[in-house]
């Protein structure tokens, strides 16, 4: 039937028109940069001479250099340390707070609002404030002096260990609220009949929490752990840049800052791209390894869902 054929052609054009802007922009912002990053990571930029600005193929040279660079190893180590410290803290605290609030503690609404406030504040605002707070003559040290804890009055951001500690505190402070809110929302749909059954079996509230409620949160805990892990490896640039710029020395350098500085401070596009390519690889690994396993069980995984952050 020609009429129908015509209609379907019109429909096809329509579909294409509706999708085109979104697809073109995704190609520009995601697809092209990923391809170009991989290309750049295998080339180096010719800086001087007749061919200045051209690309020269160097194979895995950039990667070899990066793997030998002590600063890269140090940055990667810091990312791992942040992963080991921040992710468990965020997961445990958000589950604990959510479970407590869900038990109808007095004032739980107020607590929920308070815990969520940092999520709304811009990282730049948080970073600048924490920077001022932890100055030698800052408000934290004034508070310690007032509490007669003079041993704790140090120049927080001038020493490696304490600067790293401040970074950890700031990340947990800012990120916790989001975790609490998604855990709480999951708790709202916990199967009440199971809790009732547990109660009839004589569980106390502590046992109920550990044996009945938390196991039901498995999926959301897993989801949040993946999310926090990705955050810690790939979304911390703003925190570090505002608070310490990697210092003192290189003690708070992370992968993203390494990639950023190689590109925009030292004009080493190839090295920067090699690190970016590694970050892409890591994200793919974290996302798709578990995904492949789960694909059989669930076709459409919300595990992908991520809320953009600054």
């Amino acid at each position: 039937m020609p009429a129908r054929l015509e209609k379907s052609a019109v429909t096809r054009v329509r579909i294409a028109l509706y999708l085109a802007p979104a697809l073109l922009l995704s190609l520009l912002v995601f697809f092209y940069p990923i391809c170009k990053t991989i290309y750049n990571s295998l080339h180096e930029l010719v800086l001087g001479g007749a061919n200045a600005g051209a690309s020269r193929f160097v194979g895995l040279g950039n990667f070899r250099f990066v793997f030998k660079d002590p600063l890269f190893a140090e940055s990667l180590g810091h990312n791992f340390l942040l992963f080991l410290v921040c992710v468990p803290l965020l997961v445990v605290l958000s589950v604990a707070v959510a479970v407590l609030l869900n038990q109808g503690m007095t004032g739980w609404r107020a607590y929920r609002t308070i815990v969520f406030i940092p999520y709304v504040l811009p990282i730049v605002v948080v970073g600048i404030s924490f920077g001022f707070m932890f100055q030698l003559n800052g408000v934290i040290n004034t508070a310690f002096a007032a509490l007669k804890l003079d041993a704790l009055r140090v120049d927080w951001l001038a020493k490696s260990n304490s600067a790293f500690l401040v970074l950890v505190v700031m990340i947990v402070w800012k990120e916790l609220g989001f975790g609490v809110v998604i855990m709480l929302a999951r708790l709202l749909s916990v199967d009440e009949s199971l809790i009732e059954a547990g109660r009839l079996d004589g569980c106390n509230s502590w046992q109920l929490t550990l044996r009945v409620i938390v196991p039901q949160m498995k999926e959301i805990i897993y989801f949040y752990t993946v999310l926090a892990t990705i955050t810690v490896f790939t979304w911390l640039f703003n925190y570090v840049f505002v608070l310490t710029r990697g210092g003192p020395g290189t003690s708070t350098y992370i992968l993203e800052l390494y990639a950023y500085n190689q590109a925009f401070r030292y004009q080493n596009r190839g090295l920067s791209s090699a690190v970016a390519a590694l970050i892409i690889l890591a994200v793919l690994l974290v996302t798709f390894l578990p995904e492949l396993r789960r694909l059989a069980a669930r076709k459409e995984g919300i595990e992908h869902m991520r809320v953009p952050r600054g």
């Binding site: 407590l100 730049v124 600048i128």
Partner: protein, 277 residues
């Protein structure tokens, strides 16, 4: 009554924990607000306590600062344009995905979802070089395009997950009543997906307003900076007048916090529906 005692004990421990956590959370906010109300000399003598009075001089000098006002205007402009055009683009795409069936639909949805995890840092260098070539560096239009691109995966995914729940009969009824596609979108799809629209407005506004990386790389001249990039410059420029900087931080937070508060109830609902899907 051992059980009752144990229960009461757990409750007390829980309350103590929550109070401690609240104090930890509120302290930096207390600090920002009080410091912004102090004079320069007053702050040097008393950085921890409450301010003597409500001195608004910091806010007055902030708004007399031409650069700061300019950054504020830039941020409002960039954020609102990104939201308007970004939502339009995403609603159209989500509409096509819901209304029609076509061969690569499933693939497309999975592709969009997987883009959500790509961190901005990896796109910076290629986009920078590309934008230098097409002369879109140092232009608000340039960053607006980039921001729209970055909000696409999340927004399409969220809006689509609401569009899917619209019953087919309703769409059929609209078609029988003679609604063309755009009318369907604006009269049936969008009104039925208000939580998703509000959630994406709030989440994306926070992301665009709060972003530093793109703003720093793509907007280098001082007068084109958005607030977040501006604040970094402002900090080093006014570092002897700390209360003034704190006032700047507070003012930069208020618009986005107000937007969040006004959409809060729908925001949590929208986010959860998206998550549960």
């Amino acid at each position: 009554m051992a059980a009752g005692q144990e229960f009461r004990f757990a409750k007390i421990v829980g309350q103590v924990f929550l109070v401690a956590l609240s104090l930890f959370t509120l302290f930096p906010i207390y600090y920002i607000v009080t410091a912004s109300l102090k004079g320069k000399e007053e702050y040097l003598l008393n950085n921890l306590g409450l301010p003597h009075g409500v001195a608004l001089e910091n806010f007055r000098s902030l708004f007399a600062d031409f650069a700061f006002v300019r950054w504020l205007v830039n941020s409002v402009l960039v954020t609102s344009l990104v939201l308007v055009f970004g939502l339009l683009v995403c609603c159209l795409a989500a509409f096509a995905l819901r209304r029609y069936t076509f061969r690569i639909k499933g693939l497309l949805l999975r592709f969009i979802a997987s883009l959500m995890l790509i961190p901005p840092i990896i796109a910076i260098v290629p986009l920078f070089e590309f934008f230098v070539r097409i002369r879109l560096i140092n232009s608000l239009a340039g960053v607006i395009i980039i921001y729209i691109g970055f909000i696409i995966p999340f927004t399409i995914y969220l809006v689509y997950s609401f569009f899917v729940t619209i019953p087919g009969e309703m769409i059929e009824a609209g078609v029988i009543d003679g609604c063309r596609d755009l009318r369907l979108l604006f009269w049936i799809f969008i009104p039925l997906s208000v939580p998703a629209i509000v959630t994406s407005i709030v989440v994306n506004a926070m992301w665009v307003w709060n972003d530093l990386l793109m703003a720093m790389v793509f907007l280098q001249s001082d007068r084109l900076k958005t607030l977040m990039a501006g604040l970094i410059a402002f900090r080093s420029r006014s570092n002897i007048n700390l209360p003034l900087v704190m006032a700047g931080l507070l003012v930069s937070t208020i618009p986005i916090a107000a937007l969040y508060l006004s959409g809060q109830r729908l925001f949590i609902k929208g986010l959860m529906t998206g998550l549960e899907k």
